[in-house]
Symmetry: C2
């Protein structure tokens, strides 16, 4: 063990040693019942006399911070109420640069709906607030075997940095999947990222600087809005209807705001579930070309379609390098994997590779190899088919429950795919104010306000219908409907 | 399979289908011998007549892009020389915003020393150019078993996002290890990151904006310099000698440049291997406090000490929240893990947690759990002891070889720890110009120029002595010495 000792200090060494352990115990860095080093060993480690260490330990014992067991050693005790570490005593200010961070406001920190639901203590809580699919469907046992096979096959190579763009066979596999979906791509146009959130952060930080304008659908993914705000971007919203972004209103906004980038989820938009029509897709690309606008297409659940014919991603309609396409294996697979990707061509592709390397060198090579092994043998496609089958029934369940239970004045469009349904409450009902009441009743949702870039409407909420089986959905919606009924 | 078809287009549908496959094959998105979808299936997928698909396939066959095998299907062929995808034909410009990226210069892209060595084709190449320890020592078999045990124990929970700060038991384990090293920390002060490169990127992007000034040791880690340049920071170098950064010269620089942050590797600095003396550590902290300077301490190989008594990290001497400490499990363990961490306190700690979440949501939960399981049972400590033992002998080998082979005028200080030794060649010798000759002779190094923030000196090079056994080191140094001798 090492303890920073100042041999020039006025304070005797035993006091310094005592002080270090005191702080450790009071701050919780040494958990109760942790054994302190033997006095002989610590004296050797620190280059001090053994009596110095013994004196320190005696002083700690006298203050009730440690106890000794004969023949066994010295152990930390839990601090008593009122015993505070000296650093955290009031009055010790942070350095000025830290105080400035506090003053700058910025990153909001609110209690999440799921934390609120847990805190409410309902015996059978139902959360519709989450952002991913049902963890119980994750093929974790299959995936365990795949990781085994990969590590047996690749050994320590699986644990090295690997290619800057990502594991080549995974990139080739992704390119093949995209090509079969109408989005022609080669492995060289794919960059593996730590989920689609990193893909988003890289693109935006490469192309925009603080003060630049970004267009977004209004409402849109709240995690993107938080990122754009933290980066100091000017955010301008484009209205959205049942057929996706109102592209008809785009040109006027382009002429006024001169944005450099538009961020869009054309397929099963988050939070509205809307799907951009083919005509609007073509119109959006034509405008992007005319106004020198980069298009960032987030296709986070494009494969989860429950009805209707699939539409080509914007990137599939783009032969000019206008669109940067991002997607992920997290939403439908396993969020903790953190494997997503960017498909792009032209100079921006190489720039993104360099910028990614500067940001975190590489995404976990082992995780990439495991995903590749899983996807390339068709297991992923089977998993996906199963998810579509299960989630389709859950969508039916949520629609039935909403139609059955919700009072008049609550409006929604049945989503054709994805994870979410977007509810509009009657005007004047504040969904955020409803949330604590809902949590008391054992149900949580994502308040709609968080998804608005501007003109924050308060009377919406987002439900994730994919996370629970039909009977749980029915129960959760019944609870929510009761809370809504009382509010209107 | 999906192909984007435009039913309003003048171009007949069969032509559009033919065109898609043509591009796929010419661009390499459909590899040779890939089977095209059966005509009946594709006709159904696209909602077209089967004859339309058959006509498209016949046209492709006539052009020698596919062949059909009776009763088996249609297969892609390799494109002939001269057959080019239409997008890549010269004259089709990128969108203006992409051209601007090209014009902005910025991210340099050079052939790495290791690529150059491989290309030179020596039968037994020796690279001293790498940045991590010896991959052959990675405990990949042990780690495979640990991942197994974690997935069996935690199931799908190991594949969910997990805690925003990182897996709590891993944070507690890290806090315990730091505390035993004299750096008192609780689990709440630890944030898990995707390696120390992400830690670095997060801290710098949170605290600085383009145009702000950052102080660095000169020379310093080239990956940090590239990041700082890409972010548009003004970089000011502080000279470094055998005892680390020349802190005596710091105050004058602080008064002239008003930096917000200093980036330092006090222990076994990269590339010089220098270790900052205790007096200078204390002096640096006193100046940081007086001048409102945030200190970013990169302790990337602090545990790899081969001689002398260990010095406390700067963070261990800091009771005011001046220092942000970053470290990693990559360098001594397995680079492809991508698990590093930040230890910080005060407002900056919470801000970093939020900013990390905006950047990539989380670091792979499974990798975090596996590292925790590996470290907490003492396996990591055993691995570390073994590495110290092995690398200490390699350091002796490189010092012996250098003393034996290098011509007079080549200078170096024996490093007390870490992975690197820093060579100064006689004035006028350009290490980068030497590299191709060295690669021809079968040895590679990292040219020193890349590590300089300013006043780029050309006559240095960095050797990683940890990557090879002693006899290979001896051979590599003999080759290098011969190349140096011919150059002076």
């Amino acid at each position: 063990m090492r303890i920073p000792l100042d041999r020039q200090s006025q304070q005797p060494l035993y006091k310094q040693i005592e002080g270090y352990f005191r702080e450790c115990i009071l701050a919780g860095s040494l958990a109760p019942e942790t054994r302190l080093p033997a006095t002989r060993q610590l004296a050797r480690d620190l280059g001090v006399n053994r009596i110095t260490v013994e004196t320190a330990y005696s002083a700690l014992e006298a203050d009730g911070l440690v106890y000794s067991r004969v023949g066994s050693g010295t152990y930390a005790l839990a601090p008593l109420p009122g015993q505070q570490p000296s650093r955290e005593q009031p009055g010790a200010p942070w350095p000025l640069w830290q105080e400035e961070l506090l003053a700058s406001g910025g990153l909001e920190e609110v209690v999440s709906a799921e934390e609120m639901l847990l805190a409410a203590g309902h015996p059978a809580p139902v959360s519709f607030a989450g952002g991913s699919g049902d963890a119980r469907l994750f093929p974790s046992e299959d995936f365990r075997k795949v990781i085994q096979a990969v590590m047996r096959r690749d050994g320590s190579e699986a644990l090295d940095y690997g290619d800057a763009k990502g594991y080549q066979p995974l990139r080739a596999t992704i390119a093949g999947v995209l090509t079969s979906q109408g989005l022609m791509a080669g492995a060289e146009q794919i960059l593996i990222t730590g989920g689609s959130q990193q893909a988003l952060a890289l693109v935006v930080q490469l192309l925009l600087k603080a003060g630049d304008t970004i267009l977004v659908e209004n409402p849109t993914y709240s995690g993107a809005l938080s990122l754009f705000r933290a980066l100091g971007l000017r955010i301008v919203g484009v209205p959205i209807d049942q057929h996706g972004m109102c592209v008809e209103e785009l040109e006027a906004l382009l002429q006024v705001h001169h944005p450099r980038l538009i961020y869009t989820m054309p397929t099963f938009q988050n939070p509205t579930g809307a799907c951009l029509s083919l005509a609007r897709r073509q119109q959006l690309l034509a405008l992007a070309e005319r106004y020198n606008l980069a298009v960032l297409e987030d296709d986070y659940v494009g494969d989860l379609r429950y009805e209707g014919r699939s539409l080509p991603p914007l990137k599939a309609l783009d032969s000019r390098g206008l669109v940067i396409y991002i997607s992920t294996y997290s939403k439908m697979f396993m969020p903790g994997l953190r494997v997503g990707f960017i498909a792009a061509e032209g100079p921006v592709c190489e720039r993104l590779v360099s910028f990614k390397r500067l940001n975190d060198l590489a995404t976990s090579n082992l995780m990439q190899r495991a995903v590749e092994a899983y996807v390339s043998v068709g297991r992923y496609q089977n998993h996906l088919r199963r998810c579509v089958h299960v989630y389709r029934r859950r969508r039916e369940a949520v629609l039935q429950a909403l139609n059955r239970c919700m009072p008049a004045g609550v409006r929604f469009h049945p989503p054709l795919g994805g994870l979410f349904i977007w509810l509009q409450l009657p005007p004047g009902v504040d969904a955020r104010a409803l949330l604590p009441l809902a949590c008391q009743a054992g149900v949580a949702f994502a308040p709609g306000e968080d998804f608005f870039a501007e003109g924050r409407e308060k009377n919406h909420l987002r439900l994730n219908f994919a996370a629970h089986p039909p009977e749980v959905i029915a129960e959760g919606i019944a609870r929510l409907a009761e809370v809504v009924r009382r509010a209107i």
